[in-house]
Symmetry: C2
Subunit: 166 residues, 2 copies
């Protein structure tokens, strides 16, 4: 049967919710900047080259959605700090997956700076879909089930582990 989802229930899906928060122009670029330790309005503006009114609008929207926190700086009361919340940081896999796709299929000749695991300086893996036992899954391996249909993992777990080794 493969990947097929009950449609007409599109509103229930997480995708429109994610797009509602992050789907506007510049939102992902702002997120990226935030991951890169850009915290202030003027920094975002000069790094991204975005119009000030648009930037103000996007920042306040991201704050409303709980993706960025907004705190006035105590040591310089002109300044405001925009910082990623937990919710915002949880977008990292989506962002990395997007950029890996862009790097792979775009005509980026040089991916000179490469994202690595700090611990051993090795590049991270491509972001993938994983089964509960860590197998990498493709579109053909996925399907939709209702909660009731999902069997809890029990004794069969051992068999699956054996399966994985083999």
């Amino acid at each position: 049967m493969g990947l097929r989802e009950p449609l007409k229930q599109i509103a229930d899906c997480g995708l429109p919710i994610a797009l509602e928060a992050m789907g506007e122009r510049w939102s992902f670029m702002i997120l990226r900047a935030a991951f890169n330790r850009i915290y202030h309005f003027e920094e975002f503006q000069s790094e991204l080259g975005i119009a000030r009114n648009i930037l103000a609008n996007r920042l306040s929207r991201l704050v409303e959605h709980g993706i960025l926190g907004r705190t006035p700086c105590p040591e310089d009361r002109r300044k405001v700090e925009y910082r990623l919340t937990e919710k915002g940081m949880a977008l990292l896999p989506a962002m990395i997956a997007l950029r890996q796709w862009g790097e792979l299929y775009g005509s980026c000749t040089t991916s000179t700076p490469v994202l690595v695991d700090e611990r051993d300086n090795q590049p991270i893996q491509p972001v993938t879909i994983r089964a509960h036992d860590d197998r990498v899954l493709g579109p053909a391996d996925l399907c939709w089930r209702h909660a009731e249909e999902v069997k809890p993992l029990g004794a069969s777990r051992e068999a699956e582990l054996m399966d994985r080794v083999a």
Copy 2:
């Protein structure tokens, strides 16, 4: 040092490329429908409730970007099939990551239909960033390196990684 990327080279990053292809309104919803075996113009239109001119525009853009293929149906020459290409399918991790985020943080009371691995009917894992040795990485574990700085690993390790990607 953590996650910090040489800025000013933003154009080199894959993210703007990905957003250029997928960043417009409806593009991700159309992609999602395509993964759900929606192939025809009228199907997209009625499932998504999108205006016809916008849909036509998005479909042709996705075709231009090589994300969808467009083939007239031989058996009914009124019909046209829009199908995901390899490049389009490669967006699956990004899309799943986005919807998982939306489901987790949106106020979806019910995630009734759940995406499972077809083989054993177990839900898929949350999409994560992984080190070369499969450790799950967070924002704090990542940093940017230039290609020269990345020490090569033993041959067996690399073979294993290639295996995984394929």
